[in-house]
Amino acid sequence: MSDSTVVGLHHEEQHHPELLHHFAEPQQQRDAASLGMWIFLGTEVMFFGGLFCAYLIYRRWYFGDFGAASKSIDATLGATNTAVLICSSLTVVLAVWAAQIARRTLLIGSLVITMLLGMVFLGIKGKEYKDKFEEHHVPGASFSFDHVAIPGHPDQYANPRHAEIFFALYFIMTGLHALHMIIGLGLFAWLLYMAWKGRFTPEYHTPIEIGGLYWHFVDIVWIYLFPLLYLIDRHP
């Protein structure tokens, strides 16, 4: 188990420079960081979970109106964004792997590409939001959704009040997701800086691992958001 001379008394030459004083050994620090991030992701699941709960209930209540509203957002852009995020998840695992085998160029390259893909995602999202703004589908004073047929019932119009609920949830859910992406970008910028400075070694690259976990989680949220929001009722 732990060597007592490491605990409590600082023998500088004996412990790893990245080891914090209250941990007995690097493995303990790594395990703590990993468990901490997983638990934090658990809180994020419950955070988004409340929104999913609200969404599922209203989708069941107002299926037709939600279908009409869903049809008006661009599924191709949504699918593209899904692919973008999946690619960025790949580059993230490549970054972790690169750190494990001490390939600094690959590590930095992967981190850069991950961030670029993240920015592409946000750019596409921005375009979608702009379209919605121009079509007056942003909830609030200027919202309008008149005379839009319910998919499969061309003689019925969607209730604008119910469609507004869809758009409220759409903006809140994708907006919260985008906020998490932005935070992720900030996180990765910091990781990139640390990688550039050469702080990561095969023994110590925990920040990349846990940053990666966060990024994958954001990807998983989008994996669910895409079919739920974009593909309610698309068939002709």
Partner: protein, 86 residues
Amino acid sequence: MYFSVWAALLLGTFITYKVAYIDLGRFNAAVALTIATIKALLVALFFMHIKGAHEKLLKLVVISTLFFLFILLVLSMADYGTRTWS
């Protein structure tokens, strides 16, 4: 190995997108969500390395979280699903 997972994820996305335009009635949502769940599992197991985790604790954390999310969704539905009964 990461590349095969990546390919599977992209394929799943493509299928989800295409199937949405086919009329399966009530099964559209089920198909889309099933594929989404498989994708999420792939990311979690392979990209987030749950598959190789030596400790059961991580799996316990994930399963507990999903369990309580499930409770939130299902017990709420117990109310919404039965309001129109009788």
